[in-house]
Symmetry: C2
């Protein structure tokens, strides 16, 4: 786990327990793979999903601490399993600062490792929520994430995809799980139905804003060391919001780049990033992300007053505050 939660000792303590819960599930008969997946599942990432879960659990009155750890672990494990499989698709050499499972052990091990993580996720659900409506809800969430991924794949290299297609895809592949994290936090913490519904809406807005900001970063000419290479999404045929807005604003400039994006030179990519900036693609995407951020913050403001709300406000703001 990164140092991201150092200022929030209560969340940090919970996340460490989640980390242990996950590590003890991922036992297989091969030490090096086991080490790799344990490291992958518990280091590097900010563990945003379980953190949001615990933040919302604070609004309820009745909690079973052991159940909360298991549910939080299920959220992180589902996320990690999808990342392991995503890295196969993307041919990613690294993930969370270490070699990805697929680059270290090959695609074959990565397929089964991701599957194995799904089984541990599923085991956690069976142990923690079989008597609740969230068992079926999880199955449906997993389905929506996969539908989002499959739909995104079928949109790949399609220069005619719309902003609506994009929003639908990220709603499945990213927002769905963040939404579930917030909603489950409220439910398993024992909050009332109204607060559960609000948690769900806040999760949606945070999830969408989070992904749009992430996609904008890929168009930033000043990249940090831990970020993906400039326009790597475009090269893989994944056309995100800044690009789609730019294309709609100035098709004659942008469209020619989209015919064979995997063949663009570094110079052409820099050109394209500049065009996306100048035609208002980046600012348009930023405005869209800000709209969702504000929606989240407005809803948070309507949560019961108290320390939990203030922490959530700060965390949401920090999470959605990046450098552009």
């Amino acid at each position: 786990m990164s140092d991201y939660w150092n200022d929030y000792p209560k969340i940090k303590k919970n996340l460490i327990q989640v980390k242990h819960e996950i590590a003890q599930r991922l036992v297989i008969n091969n030490q090096s793979i086991e080490e790799a997946i344990t490291k992958f599942s518990s280091t590097g990432g900010k563990m945003i999903r379980p953190a949001l879960f615990f933040l919302f659990a604070d609004f309820g009155a009745e909690k079973d601490p052991e159940q909360l750890i298991k549910v939080a672990a299920s959220l992180e494990l589902l996320h990690s399993a999808t990342l392991v499989h995503d890295d196969i698709i993307d041919d990613s050499p690294t993930r969370r600062g270490s070699a990805s499972i697929q680059s270290r052990f090959g695609k074959d091990v990565a397929v089964y490792t991701g599957d194995f993580m799904y089984t541990s996720y599923f085991e956690l659900l069976a142990e923690s929520m079989s008597q609740t409506p969230f068992l079926l809800k999880n199955a449906q969430t997993m389905k929506k994430i996969l539908q989002g991924e499959l739909t995104q794949m079928t949109c790949t290299f399609n220069p005619d995809q719309t902003v609506g297609d994009y929003l639908r895809n990220i709603n499945g592949k990213t927002a769905e799980l963040i939404r579930l994290s917030c909603q489950e936090g409220a439910y398993f913490g024992g909050a009332d139905k109204q607060l559960q519904a609000r948690a769900k809406r806040i999760g949606s807005a945070i999830g969408l804003a989070f992904q749009i900001y992430d996609d904008i970063l890929n168009f930033s000419l000043e990249l940090g060391d831990d970020q993906k290479p400039l326009l790597s999404d475009v090269q893989q045929g994944i056309f995100t919001l800044p690009l789609l807005i730019a294309r709609d604003q100035a098709p004659e400039i942008i469209r020619p780049y989209l015919d064979a994006p995997d063949t663009l030179t570094r110079g052409e990519l820099i050109q394209l990033a500049t065009h996306v900036d100048q035609t208002g693609g980046r600012s348009g995407a930023l405005a869209c992300a800000e709209k969702f951020t504000n929606k989240a913050l407005n809803e948070i403001q309507q949560l019961p007053t108290g320390n939990s709300r203030e922490v959530l406000k700060t965390v949401a703001t920090q999470l959605l505050e990046r450098n552009y």
Copy 2:
């Protein structure tokens, strides 16, 4: 579905319903992938797991027909999902007489398609057995299957693996799900605990015998059209029972072939198959498979008398009766 069950109209009728149940779950936003997975999930295969499930369900007194269809569908869907991912690992061009998902749509689609099938499987469980111990049991079964696959992968190209390693691997990767199919049949059909335990033992024995016979077939010089190429397992570094027994009987003859099995010529493969035959590898493996077959048939004989038992006896015998 193949014509395998034509002589058993009751089973066939149930399997057709299972096929429909699966098809209506596998709806995604891409017609060609949807067609491929629906076809994959419902054609070609014998649907042995749901068939065994229904055969054992017949021994119970209390049944919910809708629940039985869903549980049976979950077994077939879990099996299908593992096959889609196995084909990625094995680089299989075909599966069940059609192009495999990975050869038709690429590995990327195959990864997500398998995952998507896991989610539908999981959804079926959430709907049909959340109030029973079989929810957790399914999670554990899925885990054992994956552990079996991962362990088999780490045994690949290891010339020193033992017969014990082999049996452990097939116990996970094949017998586990067949065992669960029989056990769930008895449980969801409403049979008593003693019959459930017997069903589990019968499933184990059928599963092990089934996989050993399948592995022996790969060493047969007279191959049918729908079978894997001669010794294709050996070429992929998967050393199965006939080979391991032959190696233990005559290490000086067999061992040299195991150092770089992926470079063996067709002539050398035919030589090796002949050696495996002459050193008693095939007959030793056959004896082992027969031991498990007899164990299954003896246990079946102790089931309550009646039509269900006779059908099960015939089906188990046919299933384990192949041409060598």
